[in-house]
């Protein structure tokens, strides 16, 4: 008769009910502890999120104010004079005609390989 069950009770891990019950409790506890860990991390992150955001906003405002205070100039006069690329680009954009001396001053001692 193959529709009758095979007796696997010898392999049944719950043969000792109290031991099995302890095992169930232990696994459930460990599983719960494992789940709680990431939650605590999330809680920490959410606690610090607002101060971190406020700090970032403050820094952004400070940097913005500093930029406004310097007049928003992209390049300084010194840079214009010393950086050949900037100087040449400025002349080209403004259709300015440099004097004969200007290219020499801008390029300085460089041989044009810069």
């Amino acid at each position: 008769m193959t529709d009758e069950k095979i007796d696997f009770s010898a392999l049944d891990p719950a043969q000792d009910p109290s031991r099995w019950e302890r095992l169930i409790e232990s696994v459930a506890q460990r599983a719960l502890a494992g789940r709680a860990r990431p939650n605590r991390l999330l809680l920490q992150l959410s606690t610090w999120a607002r101060p971190a955001l406020a700090l970032a906003a403050g820094l952004a405002i400070a940097i913005w104010c500093a930029v406004l205070a310097t007049g928003g100039r992209g390049t300084t006069t010194t840079e214009t004079h010393t950086d050949p690329v900037v100087a040449l680009a400025t002349w080209a954009m403004n259709d300015a005609i440099p004097t004969t001396v200007d290219p020499v001053v801008v390029l300085g001692g460089s041989n044009g390989s810069k």
Partner: protein
Amino acid sequence: MVGVLQVAVDRRASAQCGVKMLDPERTAEMVVAAKHGDATAFTALVRAFLRPAYAIALSVLRRPADAEDVAQDALLVAFEKLDTCNEPRRFAGWLLTIARRRALNALGSRKVREAHAKGDGTEVVSSARWPDQVGLRERLLQALDQLSPLQCQVVLLCDLEGWTHAEVGTALGISELMSRQHLFNARRKLRGLLATEGSVEAQHDR
């Protein structure tokens, strides 16, 4: 002695454990509650699925102590990854897949360990040497060893856990008909093996 080896008509086996698989709706409820950290739901899920996970691990490892460790491990991993279980109704199948994979990993590690032990000349301790695993238990394990992994899983889930074919089919991803077929073949094979062993043992006893 033959009596010990007999393939018992055992309706006691499923009644004895008193644990029935949760139906899919109830399982889904428990999984959702567990996702929200409900301790009662965790316990209910462990109670319902630790034994099935053990049965699957046993079908791969064929050593009860190892299977118990893997079953616990599989449940812990499943709970850690619970948020990735997109279909709570199918928690059983999802968990048993985890259990099967972890059992296969454990089996691989065990084979490597045993190969190293042989290489070192260390004596490999057979499970048969442990006093708690001799007798009927050992014979059952040896007989189970002759079954295919799927036959072994089906017969353990049906006869050890008391699952229905519908439940087994859903959990293992096979049809109900296939589950019946595997169970029929597994039982026939086990009966043959255990009966042969029984008669050999009886002759030795005389």
